[in-house]
Amino acid sequence: NAGVTQTPKFRVLKTGQSMTLLCAQDMNHEYMYWYRQDPGMGLRLIHYSVGEGTTAKGEVPDGYNVSRLKKQNFLLGLESAAPSQTSVYFCASSTDSIGQPQHFGDGTRLSIL
């Protein structure tokens, strides 16, 4: 049982490049989330989805886009990467509401040069 799987695990980009981070969950969860974790800032929500085909903005959405075409997958896109987006990105999923615990993947470590 894999739970939440994130790919890639590490990536280095140059400023202005684009990329997509993939999150896949095999728990049939409705809700999915993308966070970034920075030293001294804690975990901050970028975007989230409450079901297939839906997305919504979180606390720090600027510079990111997301898509949830299939229930099990949640994609995070950076159209034009900036050094300020250097961070560790975590995906999470939960059953059907914010009151339920979220299950996290092991993160993608992204460096923008």
């Binding site: 939440v4 809700y31 901050r44 606390e59 975590f90 009151g99 979220q102 996290f104 993947g105």
Partner: protein, 110 residues
């Protein structure tokens, strides 16, 4: 705006030395308070959910408690394998987001 403050930022204990981690919060209608454990290079791992003041939950050497303003994570007779960063987060009734605290880094020496 919901706020979560965890203290201390770092805590060093000797094996067997019990202590408590604090999570102070302000939230507009508490939906739930969550405790997570995070090991280096890994994602947060769910520990407990507390939903109302007075509620307590236990798991092995860990016990979480909740009041209207704060939550405590009590660690009894810790072992080196309890070393990790412990995160606290709150969900309010109005939205779909968790607000996380900055975490407490716990180090247990043998």
């Amino acid at each position: 705006e919901d706020q979560v403050t965890q203290s201390p930022e770092a805590l060093r204990l000797q094996e067997g030395e019990s202590s408590s981690l604090n999570c102070s919060y302000t939230v507009s209608g508490l939906r739930g308070l969550f405790w997570y454990r995070q090991d280096p290079g890994k994602g947060p791992e769910f520990l407990f959910t507390l939903y109302s003041a007075g509620e307590e939950k236990e798991k092995e050497r860990l016990k979480a408690t909740l009041t209207k303003k704060e939550s405590f994570l009590h660690i009894t007779a810790p072992k080196p394998e309890d070393s990790a960063t412990y995160l606290c987060a709150v969900a309010n009734n109005a939205g779909n987001m968790l607000t996380f605290g900055g975490g407490t880094r716990l180090m247990v020496k043998p």
